[in-house]
Amino acid sequence: MATKVFMEALSPTMEEGRLVKWLKNEGDAVKTGEPIAEVETDKAIMELVARGDGILRKRLVNEGDSRPVGDLVGVIAGADENIDALVAGAASASAKASEPTAKPQPGAQTPTPVAAPPAAPSAPPPVRAPAAAAPPAPVAGGNGGQVRSSPLARRLASDRGLDLTQVQGTGPGGRIIKRDIESVAAVPAAAARIVPARPTIAGDFEDVALTQIRKTIAKRLSESIGPIPTFYLTAEFDLERVTEMRAAMLELGDEYKVSINDILMKAVATALAEHPEVNAHWLGDRIRMHRRVHLGMAVATADGLIVPVIFDADQKRMSEISREARELAKRARERKLKPEEYTGSTFSISNLGMFGIDQFTAIINPPEVAILAIGAAHDVVVPQDDGFVSRKRVRVTMSCDHRAVDGAVGAAFLQTLRRLVENPLMLVY
């Protein structure tokens, strides 16, 4: 039985991929799960794996060429199996696909649009919240067995690789309609994608219906200042104790070395666990307050900004955060991140301290409702008793989406954060 090799959606937003390199030659034996090619998506270089056992009989794409998601790029089959029809079908299907008015082709020639693949077999088991002893089956959107959806919604979901059972319908009788797909598509959360890397567990978040005052605030402020009415809160934290702690840890040996940024990340994650109202997503008609803290960290790469995610950051020790942050940043720069590693964050931070920036404002990564911009640690002369002392300080600026977060709410989060940063022993409590 022949297995078709399709260009798969290897990132949530991928529409086509460039086949960088074939890892197998025609005639090579391949096994299910074995990488057969490297594909450059819009975000990273990913491995395309075999979905069946056999011989890689035909490579239909040259290295360096791009193909839309869903196109046949190769055929795996038995050594003597006749694959002429499959290969011919690929040629006609791709000719059709190149016509501007081409419609989705039903039937065998073209697959149902391919969703992102399951995690490679060698990948470690998905990370889950420690408390999640419940079965990890994805929770459907409350539609029971049959998913009701408009034809347009089905097409959009298929185009975007969304699983309709993961979408909550707001039409009559729970019908999933265009706006539901659009509100999910705005949430690149694990819950919205087929990739079951981090299945949504019931209770991971709480959806809060918008109160009338919330709706009015959202509407009025959006009219005033763009679609995300942002305001900024700046605070200066004393880093003296953080510096002391870091120095003390370093004295214990290199294995205890953490950066100030690692400590700040740990502090942010801990504070977020106490403030779900800023650890949230704005979904248009409701606010999703997350109970798990998935901390996005902006990383500059040669290709541009990417935001890998430290999942369940509040549950991790400082050393784990430090190691993971270093590892993610390294792989981000090498463009080796997997899609599930840079989607699903519930809050993000951006640090330009290493560039000597004292203070700046970061742009919210929707649908998140806030982001924290961290400046450089610097020495400040401050009055003490009758004289002055020099203190290590850092300025942070929180950008808040006013539709979801009011000034006092953002300020309360910064207050908690200050308490943790200025008393870092609380972080190891």
């Binding site: 989705p104 347009l152 089905r154 707001t170 039409g171 309609i177």
Partner: protein
């Protein structure tokens, strides 16, 4: 650009085409001496004489048949029915003669004839005189059915209908004769079978024809006040129907309301909805809703007549429903 009535636009079209081609003549009840029951033929008797502007007895079947015979031998008759309600009597000539002769003569006889007159309901003319016939006529292969909704369309489409070598049923609106609109002084033609996007919007398509185009535009104005912008697709010709225009609009807006003057069962809207489900299935975000006359003979009582007809509130409610706003 001059602003003239729908009535005068039709009058100009008749006069221009009679000047252009002396095979064209007008025949019907009260078209000559009385100048037309609705004054559409005003001045034509004086201009073209009684050989080309011919009063008939009250014999719809008879003069429709004379028209078909004249068309068979090379003339280009325009047959005026005082209303399409009266033309029911003449439908044998329209459906069985005019529509069939090209086919049954093996292509020997073109029938270049226009049957025209007011269609649909006016005000309190009761059950027998308030019927919209476009779906009856459009049902039959071999005839074209045109339903202009504005003075501009009325003139351009009537001129094209007169020049067409096939039978054309031209359905005017009694309530439209006094409506005004811009009509250019220079000559123009509007091809049969082409819809007109009378208004552009991204939220919903209102697909309509004839008199209902006016109603759709008024509903669109009110919807715009709530920030809802609709496409108004005026089919203008219901046979042949401009499927591409329907498709383009629905694929853009993902939802449609079909508005027609006549009854629900086997109405024009059924055909529009059929095209939409076939051509635009994967683009639909909501079931298509139809607005039409209530499924009863038109009541005489003013309040009941109003309730039976399509209107602006019904249209607005339908648009909001397909947008999932209510």
């Amino acid at each position: 650009m001059p602003v003239i009535t729908y009535r005068d636009a039709l009058n100009q079209a008749l006069s221009e085409e009679m000047h252009r081609d002396d095979r064209v003549f007008l025949m019907g009840e009260e078209v000559a001496v009385y100048q037309g029951a609705y004054k559409v033929s005003k001045g034509l008797l004086q201009e073209f004489g009684e050989m080309r502007v011919v009063d008939t007895p009250i014999t719809e079947l008879g003069f429709a048949g004379v028209g078909v015979g004249a068309a068979m031998v090379g003339l280009r008759p325009i047959i005026e029915f005082m209303t399409w309600n009266f033309a029911v009597l003449a439908l044998d000539q329209v459906l069985n003669s005019a529509a069939k002769l090209l086919y049954m003569s093996g292509g020997q006889f073109n029938i270049p004839i226009v049957f025209r007159g007011p269609n649909g309901a006016a005000l309190q003319l009761s059950a027998q005189h308030s019927q919209a016939f476009e779906s009856w006529l459009a049902y039959v292969p071999g005839i074209k059915v045109v339903t202009p909704g504005t003075p501009y369309d009325a003139k351009g489409l009537l001129k094209s209908a007169i020049r067409d070598d096939n039978p054309v049923c031209f359905l005017e609106g009694e309530m439209l004769y006094n409506t005004k609109g811009e009509v250019p002084e220079e000559e123009y033609l509007i091809p049969l079978g082409k819809a007109d996007l009378k208004r552009e919007g991204e939220h919903c398509s209102i697909i309509t024809n004839g008199k209902m185009a006016l109603l759709a535009m008024q509903a669109a104005d009110q919807l715009a006040k709530d920030g809802i912008n609709v496409d108004v697709v005026d089919l203008r010709t219901v046979r042949p129907m401009d499927v591409d225009a329907i498709k383009t609009s629905v694929e853009k807006t993902n939802r449609a309301v079909v508005l027609e003057e006549g009854w629900e069962i086997c109405g024009i809207g059924t055909q529009v909805v059929d095209y939409i489900q076939r051509e635009c299935f994967d683009h639909l975000d909501a079931p298509v809703i139809r607005i039409h006359q209530a499924d009863v003979p038109m009541p005489y009582a003013k309040n009941l007549e109003r309730a039976a007809k399509p209107d602006i509130p019904k249209t607005i409610a339908a648009v909001r429903k397909v947008m999932y706003l209510d």
